[in-house]
């Protein structure tokens, strides 16, 4: 095998860009996170990382033990994953199953997917129309059924702000799992479903033992993409709460932005970024494995 000149022409522009603006920066961030913040190049080892865990805006142990908000960005990201993943996937699966059975209302698919199409900063504005006391429909719904503790502006209370953001991102992301599951469900041969029905399977058994096993790969893909999104959420937080009130709804992405681009603590910023990348390593690993298997 011989390297052709045309091959070099084809791959060089893309690979040079990827090298200088993706691969090299990842390495540089890793290195930077091991040096001191003042830019004097003092090697501090893992001190930036251990410092993160004593920074209450990242990890507020005292409040966690007392069960009081704010808990810190890393806990908020974990809460985000734990709540968002099952809710958005469940919602997406429910929509996909309904739309497969009732093809007449496929326009609902477009409506649900719009959340994935509009910018995150806009979602951060739209969310006021769900969780604001005067103009939010969710808040007013709770007022209507008499639960006055939730008939409030969710974003101005530390114990509801993060939840409001998470529910908003469920609304935003359900469309993604919906279209992926929809595409996967349409590939299930009708004979499988018919055979199960003849064997006396009810709706739940059909879902649990026939449909879900057959779309396992798609479920894995959605989990991977969702976890990455949940770890890196930034836009909607920035444009709705900016991490507030009192840091109750802050996330790692926002803390990294603040440390690096507001306070010029570059090493702290890269340490947070590295932490995010390490947490994303598990879904990235599965993503790569699936992709390699695919090709």
């Amino acid at each position: 095998m011989r390297l052709k000149s045309s091959t070099l022409v084809f791959v060089t522009p893309a690979l040079v860009l990827v090298f200088f603006f993706l691969l090299l920066p990842v390495g540089q961030s890793l290195v930077m996170s091991l040096f001191s913040n003042d830019g004097k190049g003092v090697f501090v080892g893992l001190k930036n990382f251990t410092n993160l865990f004593s920074d209450p805006s990242i990890f507020n142990l005292k409040n966690i033990l007392r069960g009081h908000w704010p808990f810190g960005a890393i806990v908020n990201n974990l809460i985000w994953i734990v709540l968002h993943l099952p809710l958005s996937m469940g919602m997406g699966l429910a929509c996909a199953l309904i739309l497969i059975d009732v093809p007449k209302i496929t326009f609902v698919r477009s409506l649900v997917f719009i959340g994935m199409v509009v910018p995150g900063v806009i979602i951060g504005v739209v969310t006021q129309f769900m969780f604001d006391k005067s103009s939010g429909m969710v808040s007013n719904f709770f007022g209507l059924i008499g639960i006055n503790s939730l008939y409030v502006s969710w974003f101005s209370h530390s114990n509801t702000a993060l939840l409001a953001l998470i529910f908003t991102s469920v609304w935003m992301w359900a469309g993604y799992s919906m279209i992926v599951f929809f595409a996967a469900l349409t590939t299930i041969p009708p004979s499988y479903v018919e055979a199960a029905i003849i064997d006396g399977a009810n709706g739940f058994q059909l879902l649990r033992y026939v449909k879900i096993p057959l779309i396992r790969r798609s479920i894995q893909t959605v989990v991977v993409m969702s976890v990455i999104m949940e770890l890196t959420s930034f836009d909607i937080v920035y444009s709705s709460t900016y991490g507030g009130p009192g840091g109750a709804s802050t996330v790692l992405g926002l803390q990294m932005y603040l440390e690096a681009f507001k306070y010029s603590h570059f090493s702290t910023g890269t340490a947070i970024a590295t932490l995010m990348a390490l947490m994303a390593a598990v879904p990235i690993y599965f993503n790569v494995r699936n992709a390699v298997r695919q090709s």
Binding site: F10, I98, V117, V118, I122, V125, V126, S135, I272
Partner: protein, 285 residues
């Protein structure tokens, strides 16, 4: 009652039930957007207790007039800035990505598998992980506060998925047509341009539309790379319309409507391509 009818009845009842649930979900999912739209075309006094209250109903475009002329950041500039940098932010990665994808799919390259795996790892790397070194590199190149910087970062961050996406598309194509071209004496460039690219048409459209919308929606890169108000992108302007103490919700919702209308139109007009791209971007076929 005949047996056939009796067995059909529960089925049609569950179908009606599912239709109702489906329509309800569609309504709930869409209502917040309706709220934004209505708030942008009604005076604030009328909607301050909820956009759904209709005791008084006046329609006005005053917020739209204000967003184009009444604020310190008239919206026409950012709309144009976002538009042309998103077009370029889609064209560059599509072109460079499919060139590289062709070589990966059809030609020999040393350590190809390793390169592909590295690219796959970078596909989902958080933007935060590259932000500071990339910021410094752009500063060194004099590309801070330029459209080029934003377009460059949009290009680079999307190259991995476009390369991988197009590589799979090209691999699935019939290699015999390309071989016929080689026999006829066409160069690799000619084969790429006249055989491979035209065959990839629908996939290129899918990837291009997704990439246009993602470039339009991107917020993190403009936020850290653009400072000059005249050069700002739409996504930067929206959070700035929110005051610390007072927010003009009319202007904010009018701005939000304008910014989201562009990707929504692109999505609705090319829905099939768009959804195919979104599904195919990570899923096994």
């Amino acid at each position: 009652m005949s047996r056939g009818l009796r067995t059909r009845l529960p089925g049609s009842r569950t179908k009606a039930f599912k239709t109702a649930i489906g329509l309800f979900i569609g309504l709930v999912w869409f209502l917040p957007f309706v709220g934004v739209l209505i708030e942008s075309i009604r005076p604030y006094e009328e909607v301050s207790n909820g956009w759904w209250r209709m005791d008084q109903l006046h329609l006005t475009l005053v917020s739209y007039v204000k967003i184009f002329s009444g604020t310190t950041l008239p919206m026409a500039g950012p709309l144009w800035n976002s538009f042309f940098s998103s077009v370029l932010g889609a064209l560059f990665p599509i072109l460079l990505g499919s060139m590289a994808a062709y070589a990966f799919a059809r030609q020999w390259l040393p350590a190809k598998t390793v390169v592909i795996v590295i690219i796959l790892c970078l596909m989902a790397i958080p933007a935060q992980m590259i932000a500071i070194p990339a910021f410094r590199r752009l500063y060194a190149l004099g590309l801070l506060d330029t459209y080029t910087g934003v377009i460059l970062m949009n290009t680079v961050t999307s190259l991995p998925w476009i390369m991988f996406f197009m590589m799979n598309v090209i691999r699935m194509q019939d290699v015999q047509i390309e071989e016929a071209g080689i026999i006829d004496g066409a160069s690799d460039y000619r084969i790429f341009r006249s055989i491979v690219l035209p065959q990839c048409g629908p996939s290129l459209i899918s990837a291009g539309l997704l990439q246009f919308v993602w470039s339009w929606n991107t917020f993190f890169w403009p936020l850290i790379l653009i400072f000059n108000p005249k050069k700002m992108m739409v996504t930067q302007v929206i959070p700035m319309l929110r005051g610390q103490f007072y927010t003009d919700w009319g202007i904010l919702t009018a701005g939000a409507t304008l910014v989201m209308v562009v990707p929504i139109i692109v999505f609705l007009a090319f829905q099939r391509y768009y959804i195919q791209g979104s599904v195919g971007f990570a899923v096994d076929k």
